[in-house]
Amino acid sequence: MATAILQQPGTTAGKTAAAKPKTSRSFLRGLLANRKALAGMAVLAVFIVLALLAPVLFPGDPSRITAMASLEPDAEHLLGTTAKGQDVLALTVHGARSSLLVGLTVGFASTFIGILVGLASAYFGRFIDEALSLVTNVFLLLPGLPLLVILAAFLPPGLGTVILVLVVTGWAGSARVLRSQALSIRSKDFVAAAVVSGERAGRIMFREILPNMASIVMGTLLACVIYGIGAQAGLEFLGLGDVSTVSWGNNLFWAGNEGALLTGSWWVFVPSGACIALVAFALALINYAVDEVTNPRLRKIKAPAAAPVQSAPDTRATIERSAAQ
């Protein structure tokens, strides 16, 4: 992409990382002192606990029919029932399991591939960098949602397919961001020193370069999880997921299929969408907090004009945009 040309060596995070060896600890402390991060983590924790406790809170198959169809929310069914007579609250709480599982798996897998590709590109350079960048950019450019749809249509339906398809379409964005960050660290003196002292390539990549880009990796991971949850919901809403599992996307698919909105049963439709939004918002909050903690310019209102720090402001926008797709 054309931005690659503008990416200056030495982004903000890289500078602070090189200056202070104990960045990761102060980074965590900064994160815990940040209101946005705390709010995001609290919301996320609630959802994880709910997902883990789902079989205890609502034992049995959540999609079994327990009551009359299309009941409005009342004391017995706190969120009402679907057009089939399933309890919406049970479906929503159980849906958290699949949605969070897929989101986290996709997030970790895409970030992992992104780290491998980014580090290999930055460390080996030359031909390997050219080849990997080419592949990354091609995947970045292929329209995400249509590719998702095509892949999902050809592969046999199932949770594994959903995860595979989302990773295939999601890894490139993180690879590009991590490559540009790794490149700037690659050019630092301590990496050159490690090369001269004869350390193995793997050790330099994972023990020297990687720890110094922890905050960018974390930001990428969060963006990838947001992408995973959103894209899974979209895919399932289109009926291209595994319609037999209970997840937020499938809940919305069935809500649409049973005409929940046309009959006015908004309570079937609202909870799952709101849950996706809350989780995504919580992750986004943590993401912005990571940004604020590592980029002093975004934190302070009056930025000191003296320090000529080059920042890479377009990376965030890029992640965002690719996540939106």
């Binding site: 503008l6 592969l155 939004a277 930025a303 945009r321 797709q325």
Partner: protein, 325 residues
């Protein structure tokens, strides 16, 4: 010039990759999707048409490379086979009748979101901590966290079904004669409002934050201080000095946004039953119409690549640094 040629080469590689992906998918996927398709629609087709489709989708016994060269030849002569679900209309005809609607919907939404989002970003960065800067970003990020289709369905229900302000499906009222009459144009515009508005709503936050963060970086550049010292009017500094230099990442985002236009409006088109290529793609997937599916994917990819290439050319005009090396 060298830059342009390099980019052109890259886009050709990307296009070749998507053609090859298209070629390989039906041939290596488990479950033999092509036979399923034939089983469904055999009785409606002539034997020679079946034979042509078998060749296109790889259900024949010739060696792979022979199939591949044939496939490439077909693609470059514009022969993408006939649609199964709209038999016997050629795929190219189906696509050309629909791409206009997608461009209209996506283009309108993209331009509005980019212009308004960038202006808001400029305003927010210029007055750090002001009303625009503190109130809007959290709201927009929160709205952006909602799944696209969920917001779209909510808007459809609220403004289309309950309030009845806007039409709820299709691009124009059934039975209206298409033409450049005021009545028809007004009708199309009315059908455009809801789908375009939902896209703008979820994408505007990314534009705004991207612009804001870039502009905060440019605001502390020396030439801004210089302009202030010269006593230039603040409005002039804001737009001609700071915003102008912060625009570049937004130009790249615009290129990626164009990709989103063609492919990403899929969910919106599905919710509003808007007759664009995304809606058609889902129909093709559901109807196991593989030739149409492949044709649509290739068209979407080609459009994305072309859009990005045009943005690259624009970039050369805008950024002298690209020209000099």
């Amino acid at each position: 010039m060298r830059f342009i040629l390099r980019r052109l080469g890259f886009y050709l590689v990307a296009f070749w990759a998507s053609i090859t992906l298209n070629f390989l998918l039906p041939r290596f996927m488990p479950g033999d999707p092509v036979s399923r398709m034939f089983a469904r629609s055999q009785d409606r087709m002539q034997p020679e048409q079946i034979e042509a489709l078998r060749k296109l989708l790889g259900v024949d016994d010739r060696p792979l490379w022979a199939q591949y060269t044939d496939y490439l030849h077909n693609i470059f002569t514009g022969n993408m086979g006939v649609s199964i679900s709209r038999f016997p209309t050629p795929v190219t005809e189906v696509i050309s009748s629909q791409i206009g609607w997608t461009l209209l919907l996506g283009g309108t939404a993209l331009v509005i979101a980019a212009v308004v989002g960038n202006l808001l970003g400029i305003a927010a960065a210029w007055r750090r901590g002001g009303a625009v800067d503190s109130a809007l970003p959290p709201v927009l990020v929160f709205i952006g966290s909602f799944p696209y289709f969920w917001l779209a369905m909510g808007a459809l229900y609220l403004f289309g079904v309950v309030l009845g302000w806007f039409p709820i499906r299709h691009a124009f009222t059934d039975g209206l004669e298409p033409g450049f009459t005021p009545e028809f144009i007004g009708d199309v515009a009315a059908h455009l409002v809801l789908p375009a508005l939902t896209i703008v709503l979820v994408s505007i936050g990314g534009w705004m934050l991207g612009m804001r963060n870039t502009m905060i970086a440019t605001n502390s550049e020396d030439y801004i201080t210089m302009a202030e010292a010269k006593g230039l009017r603040p409005g002039r500094i804001m737009l001609r000095y700071a915003a102008r230099n912060a625009m570049l990442p937004s130009v790249t985002s615009f290129g990626m946004g164009l990709g989103f236009v063609v492919g990403g409006a899929l969910l919106t088109e599905v919710v509003f039953a808007y007759p664009g290529v995304g809606y058609q793609l889902l129909n093709a997937v559901q109807g196991l119409d593989y030739p149409l599916m492949q044709g649509l994917f290739l068209t979407i990819t080609a459009a994305v690549l072309l859009a990005n290439f045009l943005v690259d050319i624009l970039y050369v005009r805008l950024d002298p640094r690209v020209r000099s090396n």
